[in-house]
């Protein structure tokens, strides 16, 4: 969370990166506050990794300005940027022990707080729960351990900003969930500004203070995980973050903030903002967990097309005319079902 006023820790202003004819990052402006855990999330090719590389100084923007603590860093090489970077491949130096890996950055900077190098290395290995592993070679460690060594190594010189590029993509699902909690705990303990890149929207929601959803090199929405999930700004965000039912219809009338929306021959009651008027075309989304077999309003019926048993819940696809509804329920239904939702559980996308 932003802890003090002043220039943002990291700022992109009108940043564009083109490779030949393709635009990887398209006129992006973002500001990350000091101490914030900020996540760039999006499908592959959305420019999130390129954005991170521009921040680290591995690439130079074609246009625009990158600032660290208010200072333009154009032309500043990675080694002079005070950033720590963790890659998906961890990139541990295979010819060095864990201790040597973590100590490597201390060749070029004094350990923060004036402690001795050995002390700093021990402290960091302690922080990532690898105290006993100092003299091991990286290739004798498991993926999760390697990832933590990479974290410790990146943090050792006390960087201003931590940049994490899909650091968990190579790990299995259970480990990933455990590690992301640990990464978040370490980040909060150190209060370090962190920019995290992931394609996993669930991971993004779970760890971040704020999230930027990227698509084709542009942020579609920037906000807290809660906002991005509950009030998506665009259809892309609505469908990329979590499961969703999205449909477009025409407003027939509005009474006391509740609109009647015609969708595929059905009349749905949807809670809307003041500026929605009859005749408007609106895009509505309803989360699958908000649709229920017991719902009393907006009842829609159709045949069950598939049911995926996910353990805690079942994800059911219900045919609804030409459309399909996603429903989350505890008991897998079959045959023809009737689902409904509360008017207040629908979200209308802004124009």
């Amino acid at each position: 969370m932003p802890s003090e006023r002043g220039p943002p820790a990291v700022e992109l202003e009108g940043v564009t990166k083109r490779y030949g004819g393709t635009t990887a990052v398209d006129d992006v402006s973002l500001a990350v506050e000091k101490g914030e855990f900020f996540t760039l999330v999006g499908p592959s090719g959305c420019g999130k990794t390129t954005t991170l590389r521009l921040l680290a100084g591995f690439e130079a923007p074609t246009e625009g300005t990158v600032r660290f603590g208010g200072q333009d860093v154009a032309g500043v090489p990675p080694e002079d940027r005070d950033v720590g970077v963790v890659f998906q491949s961890y990139a541990l130096f295979p010819h060095m022990t864990v201790r040597e890996n973590v100590a490597y950055g201390l060749n070029f900077a004094d350990p923060p707080g004036g402690v001795a190098t050995e002390r700093r290395v021990a402290d960091l290995l302690d922080l990532v729960d690898l105290s006993g592993m100092a003299d091991r070679d990286p290739d004798t460690l498991s993926g999760g351990q390697q990832q933590r060594v990479a974290m410790a190594r990146a943090l050792a010189p006390g960087p201003d900003v931590l940049l994490l590029d899909e650091p968990m993509s190579a790990l299995d699902a259970k480990l990933r969930e455990r590690l992301r909690v640990q990464v978040r705990e370490i980040q909060e303990e150190l209060g370090i500004t962190t920019i995290y890149v992931t394609h996993d929207q669930e991971e993004a929601l779970a760890v971040s203070d704020r999230v930027a959803v990227l698509r084709a090199g542009r942020p579609e929405q920037v906000g807290t995980p809660r906002t991005v999930y509950r009030e998506p700004a665009t259809e892309f965000v609505a469908e990329f973050v979590g499961d969703n039912n999205v449909f477009t219809g025409e407003v027939r009338d509005v009474v006391d903030g509740v609109a009647t929306v015609a969708v595929g021959g059905e009349q749905l009651s949807i809670a809307v903002a003041d500026d929605v008027a009859p005749g408007d075309s609106v895009t509505v989304c309803v989360r699958p967990e908000r649709l229920s077999l017991a719902g009393e309003e907006n009842r829609l019926s159709g045949p069950v097309r598939s049911a995926e048993f996910l353990g805690g819940t079942t994800r059911v696809r219900v045919g609804w005319g030409e459309r399909e509804l996603l429903v989350r329920t505890e008991d897998p239904p079959s045959g023809t079902v009737c689902v409904g939702f509360d008017p207040c559980d629908a979200h209308v996308l802004p124009e």
Partner: protein
């Protein structure tokens, strides 16, 4: 080169082709062959270019009717016809460089990215059964080994044998001759020990130039930027340019001197020889080190940069230690090239005091075959010994 390309073919690609109904032969033609073509072409081009520029062997074996462009150039240089020699050298250079450039264009279009691949399985040499299907490839392999032995090993063996036999059976007379010549030879005659010493000095000096140069060029050729192909071609050019041409160029340019701002700058023959050997050797350093550097995970370098290391520090701390075996191999190549170099040295060496082992051998061949073979064995032993020393030093440095 072909072997390396073959090893980088993904087994699952072949298995996919097989599961789609392709026979083993068909899978080889459709999947494996396209991936190893560039390597086969490179091997072919290099063989052609080398043969094109082969000088010592033709000089030793061929008469006038077998003379190559190289030999003509050498004759012209000897007869002090420098202008004609230069013209002929340019023709040769043009052909070689054109071939090399054509290859590099081809490679650029055919490079297959190989990441996270599983290599093809190897089959045991001993056949699991005695069927024709199992035996045929192995018989072919055996034939190849016989041919290889005949071409590569037989000459060396026969040389060692010849150096130890005289008209009356086994003898050490040829070696005694070498010793005698060393002790009592006149200054205009070839001194065996001086030749060995010169060879080693030139090799050491050439290595000191070629290794750093080769590593730097390798670093430059493995990064992506505009004009990288041109640099690649320049780095490969010395492979295409024969020693005679390099020697001629250095002779005209450095030894005879160049006018720089009114003063004539000239370099001694020994320095010119070192320069020629270094130029001949560094492409081999580039060719062994560059693939290793290119194969390193880019994020290793980037991690080190983000941790505060400068580009040069990353090279010293991370990249070179990780490709150290390739650096050692490159060094061994550079030394071997230098010790065996004949063409440029024979043009540049200005007297017996600068003769190297190959030149000593050539001088002996004319009149005394026995001592020449003995000198050949000395060359073999010295070269092998330098390999051992390089390997040993390389191994020690690796352990820091």
């Amino acid at each position: 080169m072909t072997t390396a390309a073959w090893e980088s073919v993904d087994a699952s690609a072949v298995e996919t082709a097989r599961s789609l109904g392709a026979s083993p032969t068909r899978a080889f033609c459709d999947v494996v062959a396209p991936q190893i073509y560039p390597a086969v072409v490179l091997g072919t081009v290099l063989t052609f270019v080398f043969t094109f520029g082969t000088f010592p062997i033709v000089l030793a074996l061929g008469g006038f009717e077998l003379a190559t462009v190289e030999v003509f150039v050498y004759r012209l240089v000897r007869d002090l016809e420098y202008a004609e020699a230069a013209a002929l050298a340019l023709v040769e250079l043009g052909i070689s460089l054109a071939l090399l450039y054509a290859y590099l264009r081809y490679e650029a279009r055919h490079t297959v990215a190989a990441e996270g691949i599983r290599p093809l399985p190897r089959r045991p040499l001993r056949p699991p059964s005695l069927s024709v299907r199992e035996l045929a490839p192995r018989v072919g392999l055996a034939l190849y080994v016989v041919v290889a032995l005949a071409v590569f090993v037989a000459p060396i063996a026969s040389m060692v044998y010849a150096s130890l036999t005289g008209p009356t059976g086994p003898t050490l007379a040829h070696y005694e001759f070498l010793l005698e010549r060393q002790v009592s030879g006149a200054s205009f005659q070839v001194q065996p020990w001086d030749a060995v010493r010169n060879s080693l000095l030139f090799a050491g000096a050439a290595l000191a130039v070629a290794l750093p140069m080769g590593v730097v060029v390798a670093v430059l050729t493995t990064r992506r930027y505009r004009g990288r192909k041109v640099l690649d071609a320049v780095a490969m050019a010395p492979l295409a340019v024969s020693g005679i041409v390099v020697g001629l160029g250095l002779l005209r340019g450095l030894v005879f001197g160049v006018e720089v701002g009114g003063t004539r700058v000239a370099v001694g023959g020994a320095l010119a020889i070192v320069a020629a050997h270094a130029v001949a050797g560094y492409p081999f350093v580039v060719r062994t080190v560059a693939p290793g550097l290119a194969g390193l995970d880019r994020s290793l370098v980037e991690s080190a940069r983000a941790l505060g290391a400068s580009r040069a520090r990353v090279l010293a701390d991370i990249e070179l230690p990780l490709v150290w075996p390739a650096v050692v191999a490159g060094a061994a190549f550079a030394v071997a090239i230098s010790i065996g170099e004949f063409s440029a040295t024979v043009v540049l060496a200005s007297g017996t005091s600068q003769f190297t082992m190959p030149i000593a051998i050539e001088r002996f061949i004319g009149r005394r075959l026995g001592p020449a073979t003995a000198m050949g064995v000395v060359l073999l032993v010295v070269t092998s010994a330098s390999f051992l020393v390089i390997d040993h030093l390389g191994g020690e440095t690796d352990a820091f």
